[in-house]
Symmetry: C2
Subunit: 192 residues, 2 copies
């Protein structure tokens, strides 16, 4: 029998860096169309240089159920209008799979929703482990002034389902107004 | 449908502590009979107070394939004779499941073996992530002078198989002799 070989990689747990990742996914502002309440504010950010919005550094392993995929997620600080920078958010393609996030740097929230629209959040701070159970869509939101960085682990076969989140949106949006963080129920969910 | 609720727990990533764990498994020296080369040296340690050898703090989640179990493993520093303190070591009961260990404090090695007797190791230092693939038995060995602490994650259905390691042992033992770390092929494997 041919076994996968053990390996090791180095993380800087203070800066929140995976050293020499095999893959790096970079999402620029232009990949976030449709996600923010203020579409015009997003277009201004795109026109002004389309900066990096968030990125994911990953060390791939086989996408089988018993393996564990892991990496580092970094969401930059800022707002689109007054709405805090965030990731697209996703369910897992194999919906009955959980994910663990461990905050390493910065602060924010993990927004989580069920397909039926229940929405909860947990605070992201360094050292805080957030358990996203099976079936919950999830999105990181940076409410601070430095990058929000977390280490994540999920089952190898989980995959990503971005499409349903793009259609549904999240029931709650997070804004920074006059330095205060506000959780606002989104119109799309209220009227839909 | 009834979903498991999201939750969060706090880790001290510098000291390597899971705050208020739901369960804590404590292994004393007396639970390590049969694992060290020098059985008499172990009996002297047991007779002298049977101190804690290693412990595991865990926040349980359901033992289903898509969930992720996690916790903190702490192996104390010391030697039995000249052999470095270590954990019992285990395969997973569901053998085709991986495990991730992230070094938080102290130093040592993760010893890993296949059922056929191939044996490799990776160095444990803070920030080093060790990927133990499916099918590899694994044991933490503390070669330093402070507790060896790691954060671990494994699939919810993995379970533990200690029995096969108890029967087989590991092909390699780690000793500290005159301050130097030595990897020695064990007699049990050479003669067996």
């Amino acid at each position: 029998m041919e076994y996968l070989k053990p390996f090791a990689v180095d993380l800087d747990l203070v800066r929140g860096v995976l050293e020499n990742p095999a893959t790096r996914i970079v999402r620029r502002a232009s990949s976030m169309r449709g996600h923010y309440a203020d579409a015009e504010a997003l277009e201004r950010i795109i026109a002004a240089g389309d900066p990096v919005h968030y990125e994911v550094a990953e060390q791939p392993v086989p996408e089988s159920p018993g393996q564990l995929r892991f990496g580092i997620s970094t969401t930059l600080a800022g707002t689109v209008g007054e709405e805090c920078f965030m990731t697209k958010g996703h369910y897992h393609a194999v919906a009955d799979t959980a994910e663990i996030y461990l905050g390493l740097r910065g602060e924010g929230y993990m927004l989580m929703k069920t397909p039926e629209g229940e929405c909860v959040w947990e605070k992201f701070v360094p050292g805080r482990l957030i358990y996203v159970p099976s079936f919950w869509g999830h999105r990181s939101v940076n409410t601070g002034s430095e990058p929000l960085v977390s280490f994540y682990v999920y089952p190898g076969n989980a995959g990503h389902n971005y499409g349903d989140i793009e259609k549904e949106g999240f029931p709650v949006r997070i804004f920074k107004r006059g330095g205060k963080i506000e959780f606002i129920r989104s119109r799309r969910q209220q009227h839909g």
